[in-house]
Amino acid sequence: MGADTGAVGRAFAAHNYAVGREKIREYARAVGETDPLHLDLDAARGAGFDDLVAPPMFAVVYCAAAIEEAMFDPQIGIDFAMLVHGGQEFEWGPLVLAGDEIATQVRLAEVSERLGMVFYVFESESVNQRGEVVCRGRWTQIVRPRA
C-alpha cells in the first residue's frame, strides 16, 4: 500500500500560546537548565531582558497544541502505536520571554514511503505578538509497518 500523499500542503489551524514564567521554570528544571536567565527574574532583568527567557527548546511547549492538531488529524491517519520520532529541526529568531504570545501554524510538508515505513514531515512556524518569527520547526515522524 502506497503512502497517502493527498493531504500534503495542507495547513492546520493556528494555535496561540501565552508564555508563563512558571512554565519556563518548570521546563528549564526538567531539562536541567541552570542558566539564571531561565530561572531568576532579577538575573534576567539584570541582563537586560523584560522577563524570564525561555530556553530555545521550549519551542516544543508553545508548538505542542498546533503539532498535535496536525498529527491527530483523521485525514492524515497516523497509526500512533507504530509511531517513532525520526528527526527534528528548529531554527530560532528572537528569544521568547515570559509574557509573550506565540501563534504557531503547522502544515504537512511531505509524505513518503521507504521500506514499508511512512515518513511524515510537518513544518511549523511560530510568530510572536510583534509579528516576528521566533521559531521554524521541521518534525519528521515515522510510522513503522504493523507486523
Partner: protein, 129 residues
C-alpha cells in the same frame, strides 16, 4: 570560548536522568505517551522498558551548546536524527565538535551516546558566538 575553529571540541555534557525524569519531562512538555511513563506498556510494544523522550535528549544537545557559548541567544539552529531509544538512570554524554566557521556563524556537529551507542548522531547546531 575564545577559539571556535574547525576541530575545536566544546566541553562535553554528561547527565544521568533519574527515574522520575520522564514524568517531570512529560508534565513540562505535555507529551504523555505511555512509552515514556509505563514500563509494562513500553514492553508490550517491544521496548525494554519506558524510554526517554527524544525531544528531552535533543534539549540536552541544545544545552551543551548554550552552556558552552554562554547563553540561549547563541543557538540559532539545531537539527537532529533520533537513533534508538535512550533509557532513564543511565548516563548520557553529549560531545560537540566545531565543523565549520563562516563569518560569525559557527557550525557544530554533536552526538549523544548512552551505554556506548549513539542515541542522536550527526546533530548539527549553528551558533552565533
Amino acid at each position: 570560548m575564545s577559539e571556535l575553529e574547525p576541530g575545536t571540541q566544546l566541553p562535553p555534557l554528561s547527565v544521568t536522568p533519574d527515574r522520575t525524569l520522564t514524568a517531570r519531562y512529560a508534565g513540562a512538555s505535555g507529551d504523555f505517551n505511555p512509552i515514556h511513563l509505563d514500563d509494562e506498556f513500553a514492553r508490550s510494544v517491544g521496548l525494554e522498558g519506558r524510554i526517554l523522550h527524544g525531544l528531552y535528549t535533543m534539549a540536552l544537545v541544545a544545552r551543551a551548546q548554550t552552556q558552552a557559548l554562554g547563553g540561549p541567544q547563541h543557538l540559532k539552529r539545531l537539527a537532529v536524527q533520533f537513533r534508538g531509544a535512550a533509557v532513564p538512570a543511565e548516563e548520557i554524554t553529549i560531545t560537540s565538535t566545531v565543523s565549520a566557521r563562516e563569518g560569525d556563524r559557527v557550525t557544530v556537529t554533536a552526538t549523544a551516546t548512552q551505554r556506548g551507542k549513539a542515541i542522536i548522531r550527526n546533530a548539527t547546531a549553528e551558533l552565533e558566538p
